[in-house]
């Protein structure tokens, strides 16, 4: 049930014409099995095309194979089967030190016996660049990550956020064509993480380097990425831009993992293209989006985002139920509704000063959402 969209070159529209975007990294049926009893499949036949200048995110819960895939691109792990090319060149034949990619490690892995500047210059020295060029690039990099004043500090004497920036500068200094980032923000506190998300996105756009970013944080993935591959249990479940992933999840796992979702039992009446007509448990019929046309009629699950629904008087709703908890969040309020068919449903409504309809716990209410907003998931 893998929903991997494998596409070749894609066209990006720019003013007045189209531009072909080349594939930076091409992953084909990459497989990694760790021997054991039973053998552990860390990655099951993954196929992805990562484009030039793209911010591509591998998103999934821990143990989903995202880090394994990243480490294979870096060269620290060897696949059991499959192919891996970068701009047409076979990466699998090359040891890590010959691959034109650099990595930002989760632990940063800064060299503790070297200063900030020495850490950043390490890759350039290994490439045998002339001294003057090294000095210039290191200065540029330190300015880029705002660490110029810390040049001669030992890496143990700087804060976590600063270490993170040094790790980034060190990986960017050799100007790789692809930068691999393994959960680089997970060790930072909330505020710093937000700042660094913007910073990373800015760096990616300024440098034009392809970023392959690994995270388990769905919000981080949605805000930063051009495209996301959602992974679970070693398989790629869906590839798409953040809007596609959020609004049109291909399956229950994706809908559940990304954001909050209500799952409603429903019956599929008919499909026409990507539009489906479904019958809700209340008997009412409504249009919904289908991931693929020609889906099997019968029992399906309808996914509706809490913020896409509203509550009102019982008579006006698509579904009726009893209001349970009402949780106030400042900007919005969460209404927990127990529907008549027994399923729970959460409505997230923005708080407005002009709000008139007020409901309280125990009231009979109706839940409403617009036609075409729900997503049909196969059961």
């Amino acid at each position: 049930m893998v929903f991997a969209q494998v596409s070749g070159d894609v066209e990006k529209t720019i003013t007045g014409g189209t531009l072909k975007v080349a594939t930076a990294i091409s992953v084909r049926n990459l497989r990694k099995v760790y021997p054991g009893q039973p053998p552990v499949v860390a990655l099951a036949d993954a196929s992805i095309d990562i484009k030039d200048n793209e911010f591509f995110t591998l998103l999934g819960p821990s143990g989903c194979g995202k880090t394994t895939l990243l480490r294979m691109i870096a060269g620290f792990e060897h696949p059991t089967a499959g192919s891996l090319t970068m701009h047409g060149e076979n990466l699998l034949e090359l040891p890590p030190y010959k691959r034109p990619v650099n990595t930002v490690f989760q632990s940063y892995a800064l060299f503790p016996h070297l200063t900030v500047a020495q850490n950043i210059s390490f890759g350039l020295e290994m490439l045998g660049k002339p001294k003057a060029e090294i000095r210039q690039t290191v200065d540029e990099m330190m300015a880029l990550v705002k660490m110029t004043e810390m040049a001669d500090r030992q890496t143990g004497q700087i804060s976590g956020g600063q270490q993170q920036r040094v790790a980034l500068a060190r990986a960017l200094a050799p100007k790789p064509r692809v930068l691999l980032l393994d959960e680089p923000l997970s060790a930072l506190d909330f505020k710093l993480r937000k700042d660094m998300q913007l910073e990373l996105k800015r760096l990616q756009m300024e440098t034009g380097i392809t970023f392959v970013f690994v995270t388990h944080d769905q919000e981080e993935a949605l805000t930063m990425s051009d495209r996301i591959a959602v992974m679970n249990a070693g398989e790629i479940r869906q590839i798409g831009n953040p809007r596609q992933i959020y609004d049109q999840p291909a399956e229950r796992f994706v809908a559940d993992f990304i954001g909050d979702t209500n799952f409603l039992p429903a019956e599929l009446i008919e499909t026409a293209g990507q539009t489906a007509t479904i019958r809700l448990s209340s008997g009412k019929q409504i249009a919904a989006r289908a991931a693929e046309s020609g889906s099997q009629k019968g029992k399906v699950t309808l996914a509706v985002r809490p913020e896409h629904a509203s509550i009102g008087p019982e008579a006006e709703g698509l579904l009726a139920g009893t209001l349970g908890e009402v949780v106030y969040f400042g900007t919005d309020t969460h209404y927990h509704v127990a529907l008549e068919d027994g399923t729970g449903f959460v409505v997230r409504q923005q708080n407005r000063p002009d709000a008139t309809a007020q409901f309280s716990s125990g009231d009979r209410v109706g839940v409403h959402f617009a036609p075409g907003i729900g997503q049909v998931l196969k059961d």
Binding site: A74, G75, Y97, F105, F111, P112, P174
Partner: protein, 266 residues
Amino acid sequence: MSKAFNVSRQNGFTTIAITCFVLLYLPIILLVVYSFNSGTSVAIWEGFSWRWYQSAWQNDQVQEATVRSLIIALWASAISTTCAVLAALATTRTRKFKGQAAVFAMINQPLMVPEIVTAVALLIFFAMIKVATGYTGLAYLIVAHSAFCIPFAYLPIRARLQGMDLSLEQAAADLYATPFKVFRRITLPQLWPGILAGAMLAFVISLDDVVITEFVKSAGQDTLPTYMLGQLRRVVTPEVNAISTVLFGISVTFVIAFTVLGKIKN
């Protein structure tokens, strides 16, 4: 609140502990005290003097044995540490292979085989080489010492390597460092406290070896410990105490340095 088992609360714990420490340290304290005896006895105190230190210092045989001991210990610690670094790298920085446990046991073999067995084996083996080549120099002792010092140098180096963050070496490889450069620029600078600790331990172990040295040495190749053993068979004077005290001081210094080096953080 239930009381956890605490060995220090058991009857007789203090008595046993004190007895052990007295047995361990009283003889050493007496040895040190009597090294300053002005008389010729190692058991009857006649007053304080430095005479036995002077006597040892001016004794040609002691001088010769000391120089020989130091030469052997320096060579043995250098050779065994080099071997230990290579062995430690091979057992911590390669993929797991079949028979890794056997290799580990072989490296540490000198710790497990009775020294006397090694000594006799080396005596016979070197005798064959001596007959074949006619060479009777110090090399036999150096080789023998190097061999049994390897595990002592290996253990601290291996511990240090195991404690090191592997992602640092991966990061270096990721930044275009060849395997040799990774070792030279990243692994070695962080490994040196382990190497130094291993070398010092090997040096001390070599310095006070008696059994293997006694069997392997040719005539006129006494080291300090075997010279002292020889002296004890004839006449015992506090000169032996004085030499022992100096050796004891050197060992204590090394052990302290070893502990300090082990504590240097990665």
